[in-house]
Symmetry: C2
Subunit: 583 residues, 2 copies
């Protein structure tokens, strides 16, 4: 089949050229004896004109037929500014019908109004929409750039197994029954974590993999049962070395896909400071509106509510929205209060408004003049500013104001338009978190994360305040990756297991072969796992993960196209030595 | 950690330089007050000398300890030509022990004599061997080149699901029980075949993926339960277009990894001719020794054995080995006969030797002088030539001589040394093969392969002689890839299903959603799947697939390192709604 160029690439400068095109019929109109067909391929659309000498050949042609057209490019009398090829059309001189098509069950256009479930069932038709094709190409480009950058930096891509060992706690593992060893199972890996650490022990020094990962969880809108991670691990490094590689990677990806030059180094904030300032470990830095701990203004307050909170190790936190005083009525503020009560168990939301030099609002009357003056100074309040205040347990106060910060930024339009990308390293995450369910301290990241050297002696005495060498990279409010410097010392590894309540026997049962590996000369190492779908979503400007996955499942983990998972033949189960439990 | 260069990169021209190195202790020797340590990293080995001023710091250092060394490069008095860095050594001025190591349970050296099972158990140590590291880097390079070449050719890499739909005949599928939909299963794909065809239907036009595939079969030496395929599919193409892309890919890969310029276009042989000439569809063309059908010489033979074979639609085939007459004694030839009797059910092996102008051998006495003269002429026999002859059913005669061709090429050293790469396209494979087990014709490739247009009318009347548009690429006797032009016409697809004995109902049950997709404007398309491991094995010069896989299983499908597959917790099975069958 002859083809001189892509349909969407033709421009006015091509006028007069003879072309051979191939594509799908996107739209067909008759105008007197003329037939106009928009012909679509991966590069875009072009209008073809069939005059009366040839119109008969396309009289039966309908949407989604495939045509091969020879013709001449000519300027259009009435240019269509909405089409990239809108200044020209192709005058058909010959046409061949390559294949016919039934009427498609979905509307194949960027602004389709077909329900998502129908589009998922006919995904192969949905993929003909230009917006999805562009997302697939974007995802491909991101991977190409990532690979070329990492290759240039001395990283080797190594494929690790997908048929792997199940870990005893792996309720989240997808299992694969073994046919050869009936009664035994493989598990699909949640990440290549253990393998990549073994590759460091194996002396590969710089590894990466764009790796498929699997997590059997009840899906959220931005999750899929399988997802892809740009997985990186390096030996003989500390945080700065890892950050430098990731920053280089992001520079190249954002430059290559969006033409955006990112700042040379990304901001870094220790986790504790981040939580205080933004009430979240993934703040959106495209706007300010930091949380202020104004507890110090109320050391001697007579306002009983604040008094009680402060006496019970709570704090008084505040956040300011400039010029927003008039935009939230009493009712609107009540809704905000309800939002943090139901979402974060906050007791109440207080607020102050500055209007014509006067402070009003729910607590204006109960604060002393000195306190009010102090708040105005501390929060740098001017006319029309709104300050929201939560006095509560520190975690509740911060989380509540952090969520209000995000909500009001949207409502007030504080998020700048366009390609603004604010990266942020959040460092020094806590080593442990307390599991109410298990009634013990568990690893916040994973138990192979190194604690900070200066906190090692607190492992048993004060686990709550042990910081780790774990870090996240946050972009515009989304967690793009997490990673850590790992433990490379067997003694320290055993101590950390002990700190999370594992005996050596239990540790061996869970991670035996991996622990063994540590004995034979393990290099200091660390790395990251970057969520590929999340990264492409940010670049594509979509919040729907299915927009960046070729064949996604629904939120309830169904493949509507192939109708999977499905029932299989009993013989298949017999071979595997398993049966379906009776209800 | 400071590091100025890789250990294996230092050369005589670096003498006098101050360097900081990191690596594992490969070997340690004491010589009087001096200590010599070979320090290994991914780039190679270098010898470090610790003189009496510093030797004490490394007195406890043993194999596989990790050291950080600062020192000065100096020329060696006694250069070691076996080491790439053998002309220099590094005089240590400072040393720090980064980590200690227990004595490793395997010998970490290229010429290790440790049993493979032990090496697999300690794969993370085995990977420290330079030969394995080089193979991993080679595999990475092959993938990098493949991706960059395909990207430049307009291909888009698209990830297709690993959690996919099980096909009803899929006894070879790995199954994954669904937790959300108890009693239903996902299957791991044997290849992305259906997805990539759907992507063509979806208008992606040029797709590739370096894709993980899964096949649950009883393993052979060159198979693994999971393997990787460079998977390619293109729309609006015929064979020549696919071949051009694959040839470009091979040019770039062999140039980029071996520095070898391959011939511009690879030889093509139709399957039927290939089977006649070489007795196999994957001949090694690094040597000649083609099979000759010499039946025509015996049209009127009085030699009863040949007479009977020819009367029963058999043929007399012969193959010549120059100068080999003296190399096979009567006993050696008996072994060859036993080899084809047991392996191919051949009735007998006849032979002729030319010695001092005289023809001798097992059938020299029973052939007429005219027949002997004809054989000498046909086979172009000269002194010391050996001709092996098999008279049998064509398939048996060809396969027997094809196998002898391979065996004698090895025994006689006919395979040229060095980087000789002989590619061959085998085309026009049969569309169907008869399944004795199912007592019907089945698809030889897969049922989506297009039959040759001129053979379509034989689909029902003469299925045995329908050629398909399937092709293989063979390299040095190995099948590197197979592929085909696919059916894109729904009517033809239905006919092919009918020809293999499927009713439309059965076809729908097996491939329903895929058949539906064909209705909405399917482009002509075709592609290939290239076995990545096989390609890297050829480039690495190994016949052991485990040499090119980071974490392989044994031939009996066990991961000896992590001890997988393994028994899982009953609670995990309960969640999945399955149980292990009682024996």
């Amino acid at each position: 089949m002859e083809r001189t160029c892509g349909n969407g690439t033709l421009r006015l400068s091509d006028a007069g050229k003879q072309v051979s095109l191939i594509g799908w019929v996107a739209r067909r109109r008759n105008l007197g004896s003329l037939v106009f067909i928009d012909l679509r391929d991966r590069s875009g659309l072009v209008q073809i004109v069939f005059d009366e000498t040839i119109a008969d050949k396309v009289k039966d042609v309908r949407s989604e037929y495939i045509l091969e057209v020879k013709g001449t490019v000519q300027a259009r009398k009435d240019a269509n500014p909405k089409m990239e090829t809108g200044e020209i059309e192709v005058h058909a001189e010959d046409v061949k019908i390559i294949n016919s098509a039934m009427t498609p069950p979905i509307t194949i256009a960027d602004d389709t109004d077909t329900l998502e479930d129908t589009r998922l069932k006919y995904r192969y038709l949905d993929l003909r929409r230009s917006v999805l094709q562009k997302n697939m190409i974007l995802r491909h480009k991101v991977c190409m750039i990532a690979r070329n950058t990492l290759d240039a930096e001395g990283f080797v891509e190594i494929e690790t197994p997908i048929l792997a060992r199940s870990t005893p706690e792996g309720a989240r593992d997808y299992l694969v029954p073994s046919r050869i060893y009936n009664g035994k199972f493989w598990a699909l890996p949640q990440s290549p974590q253990i393998y990549k650490q073994l590759l460091m022990i194996g002396g590969m020094e710089r590894y990466f993999q764009i790796a498929r990962c699997f997590r059997d969880e009840d899906l959220r809108a931005d999750r899929q049962p399988e997802f892809t991670q740009i997985d990186i691990e390096m030996s003989f490094v500390e945080e700065n070395d890892v950050f430098a590689v990731v920053e280089k990677l992001m520079h190249d990806i954002f430059k290559g896909t969006k033409g955006v030059e990112l700042e040379e180094h990304f901001v870094r904030i220790p986790w504790a400071e981040c939580m205080k300032k933004y009430g979240t470990d993934k703040p959106d830095l495209r706007y300010g509106n930091e949380i202020h701990d104004i507890s110090g203004l109320f050391t001697n307050t007579e306002f009983q509510v604040f008094r009680t909170v402060l006496d019970n190790k709570g704090e008084v936190d505040a956040i300011k929205f400039e010029g927003a005083a008039g935009k939230y009525s009493r009712k609107g503020l009540d809704q905000l209060q309800e939002f943090i009560r139901s979402g974060f168990k906050a007791k109440a939301l207080a607020y102050l408004k500055m209007e014509k030099g006067e402070l009003s609002g729910s607590i204006a009357k109960v604060l002393s003049e000195a306190e009010k003056a102090a708040v105005i100074a501390e929060m740098d309040m001017h006319d029309d500013d709104l300050v929201l205040v939560v006095a509560d347990k520190p975690s509740v106060a911060r989380a509540s104001l952090g969520a209000l910060r995000v909500r009001l930024a949207r409502e007030l339009g504080l998020i700048p338009e366009g390609n603004i990308y604010k990266f942020l390293w959040v460092t020094d995450f806590p080593m442990f978190e307390y599991s109410e369910e298990d009634e013990r301290w568990v690893a916040a990241h994973h138990p192979f994360t190194a604690p900070k050297a200066e906190d090692v002696d607190k492992l048993f005495t004060d686990p709550e305040h042990v910081s780790s060498r774990a870090y996240d990279l946050v972009l515009n409010g989304y967690e793009l990756l997490s990673g850590s410097i790992r433990i490379h010392d067997q003694d320290l590894q055993e101590k950390v297991f002990e700190a999370i309540g594992l005996t050596m026997d239990q540790a061996r049962e869970k991670f035996g072969f991996f622990l063994d590996a540590f004995k034979y000369g393990t290099p200091p190492h660390g790395g990251v796992g970057i969520g590929l779908e999340r990264l492409v979503m940010v670049l594509a400007g979509t919040e729907n993960i299915r927009d960046v996955v070729a064949f996604p499942t629904t939120n309830s983990s169904l493949d509507l196209m192939s109708d999977a998972p499905n029932v299989v033949d009993k013989r298949q189960l017999d071979i595997l030595g398993i049966e379906i439990s009776k209800k």
